[in-house]
Every structure is written in structure tokens, then in C-alpha cells.
């Protein structure tokens, strides 16, 4: 979100405090002085993670601090991973497989590509999952691993970890 506040000591801290008060997590704070802006006004962009349903409360708290909200861009799901699954995907209820992720509330299947070469042969799918945070993504992948084992599907995960 993009905020506008008075450029006086303590203002930035005062503006950030409500975020932690509602259980949010600040990812980045960018502030740049814009030359054509009034000298005692500060523009700040904040990237943050917020629990579901707390945005309204945060907006109220910020307004109480005298902070003007210029813009809110909501990007709900931040983490994206693509996996490939091979096996008898339709016979093992693909929609149930997808639903096991979607029903978590913290992750969802955002894209699915499916290839079925012949009726009795194994099919292959590419599944893209989005999740709010890294731990949530890990939890979603753990669910897929468990489902793959139960349904005898081959799960191919991306290689992560090399930073």
C-alpha cells in the first residue's frame, strides 16, 4: 500500500505500529522524497502480509494516526510453485486431489495442464499452486506428497533451496 504522512519525527514508526497490532508482517518499506511534493509530507510504500479479514481494521487504525492511504494493491497469494504429477489421475479423482489443496484456505491450485495419451495409460499433469507464505507452501506440498502416496501417483517437485 502507498501511504502519505506528515514528515515529522516518529510519524513513520506511528504508521507502522498498527500493522503489527493487527498481526501483519512487514516485508518491505520504501520511502522516497518526491521533489514536487510539499516539503513536510512523506510518501511511503509498504509491502506487507496481513491475516485474512484484517485489512479494514488496519485502514481504520492508520486513519486514526492521521495517515492518508493513497493506494492499496492487493496481491493475495505470494508464493508460486509448479509440480508435475504422473499416474492414473482421473481414476484417482483429480478434482479431489485439487480440492485437498484448495480447501486449506492458505493455498490454491491456480493452473492445471493435463495430458491424457490413451484411456488406460497413465496421464500427466502440471499443477501450479499459490500460497500466502513459504510455510504455507511447504504445508501444501506436504499434502500433495501424502495424496500422491495414497493414490500411487508420481510427484515431481521443483528443486528449491539453492539460494
Amino acid at each position: 500500500m502507498k501511504l502519505e504522512m506528515k514528515d515529522s519525527p516518529g510519524q513513520l514508526v506511528a504508521a507502522l505500529k498498527p500493522i503489527s497490532d493487527v498481526g501483519g508482517n512487514i516485508i518491505a518499506v520504501i520511502h522516497q522524497r518526491e521533489p514536487d511534493l510539499d516539503e513536510d509530507t512523506l510518501n511511503v510504500q509498504i509491502v506487507l502480509e496481513l491475516p485474512e479479514g484484517f485489512l479494514g481494521k488496519l485502514v481504520t487504525l492508520l486513519k486514526e494516526q492521521g495517515v492518508r492511504i493513497q493506494r492499496i494493491d492487493e496481491e493475495r497469494l505470494l508464493f508460486k510453485r509448479t509440480v508435475i504429477m504422473i499416474g492414473h489421475l482421473m481414476h484417482t479423482d483429480l478434482s479431489d486431489t485439487v480440492d485437498q489443496i484448495d480447501s486449506t484456505g492458505f493455498a490454491e491450485v491456480s493452473e492445471l495442464a493435463l495430458s491424457m495419451p490413451a484411456v488406460k495409460e497413465r496421464s500427466t499433469s502440471r499443477i501450479t499452486i499459490k500460497a500466502v507464505s513459504r510455510p504455507d507452501m511447504e504445508a501444501a506440498l506436504a499434502i500433495l506428497r501424502r495424496v500422491s502416496r495414497q493414490k500411487s501417483l508420481l510427484l515431481i517437485e521443483p528443486l528449491e533451496g539453492i539460494t
Binding site: L154, I156, P158, I162, T163
Partner: protein, 329 residues
Amino acid sequence: MMKVALIGLGSVGRGVAGMLQKKDLGITITGIADSKSACMDPDGLDIANLLANKTKNGYCGDRKMSASDVIKKADYDALIEVTPTNALSGEPAIGYIKGALLRKKHVVTSNKGPIALAYKELHTLAVRKGVALRYEATVAGAIPIMHTLEHGLAGNEILALYGVLNGTCNYILTRMAAEGLTYEQALMEAREMGYAEADPTYDVQGIDAAIKLVILANTIWGNSIRLSDVDRTGIDLLTPDALRLAEEEGCTIRLIAEAIPRKHILRVSPRILEKNHPLVVDGTLNALTLETDMAKEITLIGRGAGSIETASAIIGDLLFINDRYVRHA
């Protein structure tokens, strides 16, 4: 002059013998054994003649003598043990290696069986006898991974390692991706090229890569892990569609061996990687990425198999031993 005894005259053994004969490295072969015969001479053997015998008759020396005779009686500083790998028992190689260590002889091996199965015991024995046990050639062929870990990265904490450690699988996956071949077609091609065994199970189910991961992990972390500790998935169930679907996203699939002790991960599995990832190497090449605290990431790429390539790793070990122990003795 350093004296060595060579046990095993398959592709690797012939490569080592040939290179030692061709290059003036200060190493003399004083004993040789193949599966059917053996010979020894404290002043050095006539290697060209013995290799010619092997080609002509199928054995190299005296049929009344065996590998055990060479190990027990020959005059040598280091034993080169390059017999075929037995992944289940490690024998007879474990016995050969012990025999040499007990005589206070250094040992250099390319044999994965003994190192994967009996590393702790053999390493302890070597330390007790004050000799070296080196096995650079067991993992990733010509890539000097053990030297890198031991010397180049000395003092670093190794946080994780990722590797493409099986050339057969990498060849199959490269061909499936490039030509849209099925697994079966690519395997057949690998066989025709001499990259796959008649029974490919050991390679394609990730067992070979897992054994190499065990060797690396035990070397780096000394944690006495075994093959059964590795979570393993092979490439034999991959479909051409899987490679195509990965390709559509700018990615491909490779069989990756992975060890991350802090996360308790020890795994060999096919994985999705971006095509420009350093571990995406083509054909039978091998590659290894180490993640360390000081050096951060280091990737090594090279040939994972071949007679002369493996000889390179063995000769590197021999010259290290010569430099460190024999010359100063």
C-alpha cells in the same frame, strides 16, 4: 619411485595401467591381478605385455596366482582396487582393502560397494595403521569432488549438496526432452550407445545415485548413513508429457541427489529445474553443487564415467598419497 599393485583389469583397471605406462609419473606397477590370474615383480611389471595377454587370452598373468596373493605378498606402497562393485555385500573388495590396510599399505579404490557399506570400519582401520584410504573415483568420475571438499573447501561448513550423479539417467532425460522420446525408447538408445547396462535397474531406479549420495554424506558429515536411509524415486515412470509440460514453463527434469542435514533431507528424485540452472547438464555429464557457509555455492561439472576419466581420479589419489606419505618416508 612409488610402487603400486593393481587389482581388477576391467575398463577402469586397463585405463589406469595404460596411463601409468604412458605417463612418466614416478609410479611403477609391481603387482597385477584380474579375476582369473595374477603376477608380481618388485622391480616393475611389463605392462604392455600383460595388457596384450589380457586381450589375447582373457587373463593377464599366472593362473595359479590370485588377487589375494598379490595383496598379501607383493611389494607395493599403495593398492589400487578397481574390481566390479557389489552393492549388496561389498565383497570381495572389502576383504582386499582390509588385507592391504592391515599390511599398512595405502588404498585407492573406485569401488562404491566397500565405501558405501563399510566406510567407518575401513576408515578407522586406515587411521589406526597410519595409511590413506582414498576413493575419489567412486563419485562423479573425473570430477575432483573429494579433493575439493578436503582441500579447496577446507574449513568450510558444508550446508547442503545437490548432484546429478548418474550419467545413464541424465542421458535418458536429455534425450526424452530433446527428441520427445518415451522412456523405453531413450533407454534403448542409451544401451546402443553403451551408456546403460543390460539390466538398467541399478541406474534408472536411482540406486547408483543413492549409493554415491551415501558416500558423499558419510565423507562430509561422518554420520554413518546407509542406502536404506535415502528416500529414493527413479526415472523409469516418467512420461514424455512430463518433460513437455516442464519445457512449456522453461524448465526440464533431472534426477537430483540431495542432502541437507539441517532439514533431515536425504533424497534421490526426479525434479523440475529451470533450463538455465547450473545442474542442468546434457548427456552423460555429472554435476554437483555444494552450499557452504564461507564459499557459498560452488558447482562442479564433468565426466562421470569412462576408462581414462576414472583413471584421472585414481591417479590424482595416488599422486596425493605419493606426495603426502611415500616421498617423505
